[in-house]
Symmetry: C2
Subunit: 237 residues, 2 copies
């Protein structure tokens, strides 16, 4: 397809742009090792992330009104700390650890790749993370977003169509002028069903040795790339 | 006051960050002179801008639901073109001229000042302009926003409190952690009434020789500055 019709690129963030797993493991160790924990910190990260989709599903299914991801993350963290026997954290300490999601590191190619892509396109987030989380993470990881879109602006979690379509509408564009970029086949299928263009960015190590899917593009997406620099190459940036 | 308590700066944009008057006059001349117009182009800009507050007031008063500023600008433009006898523009030409608001130039100190302020604070828009307008303008004028807040996220026009407070909430901050920066006394008074900190940036030439107010700060704002670079100096950036 002709890249000349694309005006904006919007990105899934957790896993696609940033490496949540090793970042959360590092932060969990920093917060919890002094509390006597000798846990498997990558396992802790996986377990926290494991509560993510079920928590959002309660919102998507209508069982609960929209609440921002910071709130869901904190509820899941409190539950996980109890499960793992960490019972000596103050509310302030829990808040600090919860905001580890605001301090995730980018994959090594993300800042440079996004900087190149930004020269030619509007680049924005299309994440389930809330605005404060995205803004703080961008400052931490050097992600040069033009605009923060996604769940909080739409008051709805992906893959609800409203999430993608509110972002497109706020950009004043047609869906076919917006390229959804993600490391997850399901996210791209949902965006594609809304009329957006699609770009797969391979992140085969997102889940470490536990990864069981999304090793490669499984559908005929408009672009299939190895990383953010490869995507910039393909888009002529 | 201690700048250390401030986490984010949000900005009025039209007049404070960009020079709408000479930019719109230039664009009006480019679009309309070939149509046989020999109008006073700065007067055309003033007249278009003059329809801005009445159009928003219909939304603020509840007489009309929220519609984005691009729509109000276009309705006002169609009205103005008729008043001035320009009756030979196609819909595409009207759309192009309407998007002149997406192509406003910054005051000369704005890009450098914002770049300095961004090193220490989150910087965002708190404008009545819609998201697409703000994003496109940022690309055109080199304005390095971290986040686009304001009327469209809040679905309400300033000085409605909801506009300021939705932005503060999305940033995950308390009002007193956010500094509202504007060249207009009334905007700062409204933000201050919501608990935000306030910074006046003098723009005594915004309305050219027709300026009749806002030559200086008329209230005890937290910061009073001559331009964006002066504000950066005062905030230690």
């Amino acid at each position: 397809m002709a890249a000349t019709t694309i005006k904006a690129l919007v990105f899934d963030v957790f896993g696609t742009v940033v490496d949540w797993r090793s970042s959360i493991a590092r932060e969990a160790k920093e917060s919890l090792a002094p509390k006597g924990g000798d846990a498997d910190w990558l396992g802790f990260a996986d377990a926290w992330r494991g509560k993510y989709q079920p928590a959002m599903e309660r919102v998507r299914s209508g069982g609960r009104g929209y609440v921002r991801l910071d709130v869901l993350h904190r509820e899941n963290l409190v539950e996980l700390l109890a499960e793992r026997g960490f019972d000596r954290l103050s509310e302030t300490e829990i808040d600090h650890l919860n905001k580890a999601w605001h301090r995730l590191d980018g994959w090594s190619d993300s800042p440079a790749g996004l900087t190149r892509l930004k020269t030619k396109f509007i680049i924005g987030t299309m994440s389930n993370g809330n605005v404060a989380l995205m803004v703080n993470m961008a400052k931490h990881a050097g992600l040069p977003w033009d605009v923060i879109l996604g769940a909080e602006p739409a008051q709805a979690y992906k893959p609800t169509p409203q999430t993608y379509l509110t972002g497109v509408e706020w950009l004043g564009l047609e869906p076919a002028e917006v390229l959804m970029c993600a490391a997850h086949n399901s996210d791209l299928l949902a965006a594609g069903a809304c009329g957006l263009r699609t770009a797969f960015i391979a992140r085969p190590h997102e889940y470490g040795p536990n990864q069981d899917r999304d090793f490669k593009a499984e559908h005929a997406f408009d672009y299939i790339s190895e990383n953010m620099l490869d995507l910039a190459d393909q888009l002529g940036c």
